[in-house]
């Protein structure tokens, strides 16, 4: 019978399909260029900032780095699963408040947040320890919510995640004794050196990369395109979604903690719709299917916003000062976003990653 088969040159050795094992870490080696390049970009920006020595500019770049963490966190879930989440800023909120609980001086805490449990009232940690715990806390919250929600897909999942955000917001806005309600919680140590933020952003990028090249990341991307076929390939979709949800929740928590330290105050409505949309926009404009897209989206849009603000503030050309009317910045930003999306509907980077070799391989 097998005479009929005009099989091409196959090694019909002991096992019919002979597999050559590739060397260890080939995949990692092939794809690590991307996170390295992205990190170098951020490091370069940071170095320039440090050299200029301007405090407001320093703060601006800190902001950008925090946004990078947010957008990369979003990418981990949205980019790989294709499910648009409106809820992730909720985890940022959890992270930020956790950082506040852990770092505010106990005397202030017991007067402002008397409802906290005693052990927490007594605790005072260094900011980076707090940030790590905040990330864990957000990750655990994501695990709990995710367990319930990851069965959903498509727009139903999006709305459910939004409901999570709204619930977190409502609870944090009104549980006065623990969160201070709608009022700003102050007393969070302000960190104005840029390095911790850089480290956070780079860490987020590497976490996202590690997840993307993991088995879970691949399986999830497959399920994004074709859930039916993925299931028929043995992929447990809710489980893989949950993994991404938890990892990204933790990264968002880390970002939240760092954001709290960058401004020194937290309020629930900082972590609500407008932050949600800005971060989502940055991801989508950059290209939500790619890690590079997320990072580049943040950097470009932030640069654009900054440039427009300078123009609003007034730019002197010769003796004439030329200033845009106030409020033009937002309008221009909106218009530019629409134009970018109209020209490149899948974002600036599409599904591609930046590499040295222009290979199309998407992790």
């Amino acid at each position: 019978m097998s005479a009929v088969s005009s099989a091409p040159e196959t090694q019909l050795t002991g096992d019919v399909i002979a597999a050559r094992k590739p060397a260890r870490f080939t995949l990692a080696r092939k794809t690590i260029v991307t996170p390295v390049l992205l990190s170098l970009l951020l490091i370069a920006i940071t170095l320039i900032t440090v050299m200029t020595g301007s405090r407001p500019f320093n703060q601006t770049v800190i902001d950008v780095l925090v946004r990078v963490i947010f957008v990369v966190g979003l990418y981990i879930f949205i980019g790989n699963s294709g499910v648009l989440s409106f809820g992730h800023i909720g985890f940022t909120c959890l992270g930020a408040y956790a950082a506040a609980w852990l770092t505010i001086n106990p005397i202030m805490k017991s007067s402002a947040l008397p409802g906290l449990p005693d052990w927490l009232l007594q605790t005072r940690l260094i900011y980076w320890q707090a940030a790590i715990l905040a990330a864990l806390f957000a990750g655990v919250a994501a695990l709990i919510f995710g367990k319930v929600l990851m069965r959903l897909s498509g727009i139903a999942a999006s709305i459910a995640t939004f409901a999570v955000l709204a619930m977190i917001n409502t609870i944090y806005s009104n549980w006065d004794s623990v969160t201070g309600g709608t009022s700003s919680v102050v007393g969070i140590p302000i960190i104005r050196t840029i390095w911790p933020y850089l480290i956070g952003a780079v860490a987020a990028i590497f976490i996202a990369w590690a997840h993307a090249i993991s088995r879970s990341g691949l399986a999830l991307r497959a399920a994004r395109d074709e859930p039916t076929a993925a299931a028929a390939s043995g992929v447990d979709i809710p489980k893989e979604r949950l993994v991404a949800f938890v990892v990204s929740g933790a990264v968002m928590g880390l970002g939240g903690a760092l954001m709290a330290h960058s401004i020194g105050v937290v309020t629930p409505d900082t972590f609500y719709l407008s932050l949600t949309f800005i971060t989502l926009s940055m991801l989508v404009v950059g290209g939500m299917g790619s890690l590079s897209g997320g990072v580049i989206g943040v950097v470009l849009l932030s640069a654009l916003i900054q440039a427009l603000r300078w123009m609003e503030g007034g730019v002197s050309l010769g003796d004439a000062t030329f200033a845009l009317p106030k409020g033009i910045q937002e309008i221009a930003l909106g218009v530019i976003m629409i134009v970018i999306l109209a020209l490149r509907p899948s974002g600036l980077m599409g599904n591609r990653e930046i590499t040295l070799t222009r290979s199309k391989r998407n992790m």
Binding site: P22, L218, S233, V235
Partner: protein, 250 residues
């Protein structure tokens, strides 16, 4: 002897009996055919066998043990693979990754999955397509990639839903050689659904004919070809059976 079987399976969709009391058995190393008019319930039967559809009656058994309430991915992990009537490739992923996903879904490391995927592409004879993005492939290649994806992890059974649709004569000839190798070289039990009757008659040892959800005939190719019932319900004129494949295979 090990086998995958549907026993007394019935499926109803809001009043429509898609399958009624169907029995079917697939054994490793053998190619079985499933033919029948459009809407006969062939795809539905595959869906039942792979956990995408729960039967309203009857059971699916693997080596005599009932597979109840298993999700599709769990069924796949027990060695029952399938392809789809439409290609359903992961369009944004490269071809290798398409295969790799199954490996990963079955619990392999990515490294092992890549190794097997490459070997599998090689075995099928499409190694050169490995780095193409699946969404840009022409039809035939798409089909072969889908088969490769199903074969990852060496399932005991593979159910092919119209793999030759849209293929020209020479192309389906190639495909039929591949399907034969799957049974003989890999020892898979194959269930082949096709409207290219020539292909089915040439390949299968045993053919089941479904009509309106019920088995109307089964047996070896010759008896199916000569069955008046089948000819009436399904085959129509000579143009259909007279396809080039038949000549080659016999």
């Amino acid at each position: 002897m090990s086998h995958l079987s549907a026993e007394n399976v019935s499926v109803a969709f809001a009043g429509l009996k898609a399958l009624s009391a169907v029995d079917l058995q697939i054994t490793p190393g053998r190619i079985s055919g499933l033919i029948g008019p459009n809407g006969a319930g062939k795809t539905t039967l595959v869906n039942v066998l792979t956990g995408f559809q729960s039967p309203s009656e009857g059971a699916v058994k693997l080596d005599g043990e009932a597979l109840v309430g298993l999700k599709p991915h769990q069924v796949r992990r027990r060695g029952i693979a399938r392809t789809f009537q439409g290609g359903r490739l992961f369009r944004d992923l490269p071809v290798v990754d398409n295969l790799e996903v199954t490996g990963v879904g079955l619990g392999m490391s990515r490294r092992a999955a890549i190794a097997e995927a490459e070997a599998m592409l090689d075995w099928i004879g499409i190694a050169s397509l490995g780095s193409r993005i699946a969404g840009t492939l022409p039809y035939t290649d798409e089909r072969r990639v889908a088969i490769g994806r199903a074969l990852m992890g060496r399932p005991s059974y593979v159910l092919l839903d119209e793999p030759a649709a849209g293929m020209s004569g020479p192309e389906s000839k190639e495909l039929s050689a591949l399907i034969r190798r799957i049974a003989t070289d890999l020892g898979c039990g194959v269930l082949l659904i096709e409207h290219n009757v020539g292909l089915v008659l040439g390949l299968c040892e045993h053919i089941v004919v479904l009509d309106s959800g019920a088995i109307i005939e089964e047996g070896p190719p010759a008896s199916i070809r000569d069955s008046e019932k089948v000819r009436h319900a399904y085959m129509g004129t000579a143009a259909n059976t007279d396809l080039p494949v038949l000549e080659v295979m016999e």
